[in-house]
Symmetry: C2
Subunit: 486 residues, 2 copies
């Protein structure tokens, strides 16, 4: 029973990629773990480990390796929509890159999911103010061409209040403007429009759904992202307008009725099996225990997925390589996972959790980098009391990077929500996401948007964190959630 | 003979929209005018006029009229490619707007030009790094689909040095990066790549032409613009890559050969007759003498032509309205011209000059606002000595707007080059163009990019300038260029 809110939160997170919901999920997940190990000895990090970490930090800061990896993925593979031909090339790229970088073990684990395809998308105002509008289909949208009058709603609540049938034959337009924030908190309400709006529109009888992009920029680059239709509803074409186009449509609607032609060619097309690609640096004393770090390998198709999430792959791969190049390996292994299909429902993360459900306790800590390439400003974990002083030691080693210890803040990255739900303890290395939603899920998510110095700061933070966690004397509280609670 | 450099400069200006070249053209044009009126009495501006101008300045600064007009054109008409259905709607909009704003006379003058049409455009890297690239056809490009290897040139000179035949069956790519500058001076070399590159590519045997956009942004929004093919050459498909895509192509080329599929569907399609739309506020004492101000009504099709050049239309229309609302009209008329088809070769400006060739001396001063919506920072004219103290008086009235008197600087806006060549004296109200080439000719040229306060500053400057020039006691040196010099 008590897990119900947690599962709900995780389900929302799966659709909307929502840190706040994920926090709730993970903290709920960790509570039982802590309660089954009340008398664990205090975890310690030695002065020797701290000295190595300080060296590692400087090495990683001075290295361009994270950039080189990110450049390679975005340039050579480019956009890599889950299930596309480029998805397969990305998997081959990751295997080859892990091998080239000298990882001790490289393997793949299958991830199967429904495949969604985008072919074309177009919208135009009809009549006296005829003009095209820039938009993009939401992931999961069906194909369809409709000509209909547009009805504007200021926000999701207004649409949800529309009586059944009141939008018959019309297009619902939710004109909610997302707020900018360092921690990305504006994305919660912004992305809820995307996840819940289409179903609300259908309930009111709408023939189509449009939204102002869940983004903070003002460029002609619409923001895509996955949506879901509630059970029992017949999906309708659903798309996001670029921010200037939402402005334009709002101005036109202020003058009088607007008829729009919306033509989307896209939809679900069978199943596809991709791979989580995993590279491991073997630990010296407890090789079967791992610190798991990673990013996701897939991207949306509009850009080259630089900040979302080639950066995460580059940061975590390079962090492990810096650790591998130390004179001596840490006690535990460093496992880097390039997750499959995060974008359409955390498929890679959940597949990993299913595959490794029996080894939760062997995951010392789990952390994913999937919030762009801005500098890390905060650090925390979901660890129980006996590991809190070790967490503080890690924070001490991160402080010279401008990172603040923020216990009680943060959440697991989306692809480790699955493991956190099963009882693995998560760590959070909080990136400055002030600009992230200028680029997120748009054509503009390209390499030029990444600051190489900020990227190196991220890599240094992950290297320090992963090394210290892997070399700690004691655990961070990962333990399987009691079966009875599920 | 002496006009040859001037005509050449004007021709370049026509293709590349280049202030520097325009300056040369206009200054050459004004020299003979000055020489035929050596003994003109000094032009004066009265204290009473200055007092009215000071009031006018405050009224215009506090008014949203320039914004309202700009909003109306960009919203109601949207993109308005010369020769398109929207061109005709823009003409109707301008006629109605002049009438609604209470102009004393409103009329149109025909402008005929070849019509160019854009239907679709697409490019993709082929092979192991398969991915789409964002680009747009250059205006004037023919249709065509080619698959070919790309050859990169660092700049135009490198392409021009390529031996004849050396690019047979290949695509030339000029990777020149335009520089940012307040006065837009980086656009000279940037746009020369666009105007001369395609012909240089054809001479070397190329099957297609690509360039890094002549722009200063880094967004997935390519910059279009007109090109010309030299006589006797068979045009090839020619396009501009968005800046991040030029980066991407350069990175791929650094790894090895790149084959590209370039598919453009566009081309010339007969002739079209549009209209210069003209509104006039009748002067109180010399109604047949005019201060001509204006902007151009057409835009490229990718954006809604907000900074290029709805802003110019809004600034100058509103300036005239503020003058019309004064208790007393200035001595001369204020003529506002919304020029047709500036983008494809200053067609409206040259048509106006042909139509009004016999009335050069009745044009007190001519000025076009066509460099965006940034604040005006400098003022000057091409006037001869007897009007220099009047110019200084105008500058004095502009100074509270943060505008510096910069004699010897500046040039006529593109659509008044034709009149300047015929001997009309131009004025320059120099706008800060630091950000102009982030937006120029891209999908991103939309209303949200305009700062309403900067727009009002522009309107105030045009109102003050036009009023004082119209109310001056004496002329600014406009006189027909001696026939023998042509």
């Amino acid at each position: 029973m008590r897990l119900v809110p947690m599962l709900l939160a995780a389900a929302i997170a799966a659709v909307v990629h929502l840190p706040a919901a994920a926090t709730v999920a993970a903290e709920a997940a960790n509570t039982p773990a802590a309660s089954v190990a009340p008398a664990a000895p205090e975890t310690r990090i030695s002065d020797a480990s701290m000295a190595v970490a300080a060296q590692l930090r400087e090495t990683a800061l001075a290295s361009s390796l994270a950039w080189d990896i990110t450049e390679s993925l975005t340039t050579e593979v480019g956009p890599r929509l889950a299930g596309s031909e480029a998805d397969a090339r990305a998997v081959e790229w990751a295997k080859a890159k892990f091998a080239e970088l000298g990882f001790d073990r490289v393997w793949t684990e299958p991830v199967t999911f429904p495949k969604w395809v985008r072919r074309s998308e177009r919208a135009e105002v009809l009549g006296a103010n005829a003009q095209p509008l820039a938009l993009t289909a939401l992931g999961g949208s069906p194909a369809g061409t409709i000509e209909a009058e547009v009805v504007r709603f200021a926000d999701l609540a207004a649409l949800e209040a529309a009586p059944a049938g009141s939008l018959a034959g019309r297009i619902a337009f939710v004109d909610y403007r997302m707020e900018r924030a360092r921690d990305g908190s504006g994305y919660g309400p912004g992305s809820r429009v995307r996840s819940r709006g289409p179903s609300a529109a259908i309930r009111a009888g709408a023939a189509g759904f449009l939204m102002r992009s869940a983004g903070t920029d003002s460029h002609r680059n619409p923001h895509t992202g996955i949506t879901r239709f509630d059970e029992g509803l017949e999906p309708v074409p659903s798309a996001a307008l670029a921010v200037p186009d939402a402005d334009q449509l709002a101005r036109l609607l202020a003058r009088g009725p607007v008829r729009l032609r919306l033509a989307l060619d896209c939809g679900w097309d069978g199943e596809y099996t991709s791979q989580n690609v995993i590279g491991e640096i073997t630990g010296s004393r407890h090789p079967d225990e791992v610190v798991l770090i990673g990013g996701h390998l897939d991207s949306w198709d509009l850009g080259t997925g630089a900040v979302d999430d080639a950066a995460g792959v580059g940061i975590t791969m390079s962090a492990a390589v810096h650790i591998a190049r130390l004179p001596q390996r840490p006690a535990r292994s460093i496992r880097v996972v390039a997750f499959a299909n995060e974008e359409q429902g955390l498929h890679g993360g959940f597949a990993y959790a299913d595959q490794h459900a029996g080894n939760v306790a062997r995951h010392q800590l789990v952390a994913e980098s999937d919030f762009g390439a801005g500098r890390i400003y905060g650090f925390g974990t979901g660890a129980p009391a006996h590991a809190k002083s070790a967490e503080a030691r890690i924070a001490e080693a991160l402080a010279p990077l401008g990172i603040e210890h923020m216990p009680g803040e943060g959440s697991p990255g989306p692809d480790v929500i699955g493991m956190a739900r099963k009882g693995a303890t998560w760590a959070w290395l909080g990136q400055d996401g002030s600009d992230y939603f200028d680029l997120h899920h748009t054509p503009d998510d390209t390499l030029d948007k990444i600051d190489p110095e900020a990227l190196a700061q991220n890599a240094a933070a992950y290297a320090v964190f992963a090394y210290l966690a892997a070399d700690a004397d004691g655990d961070f509280g990962s333990a399987p959630v009691a079966a009875g609670a599920d």
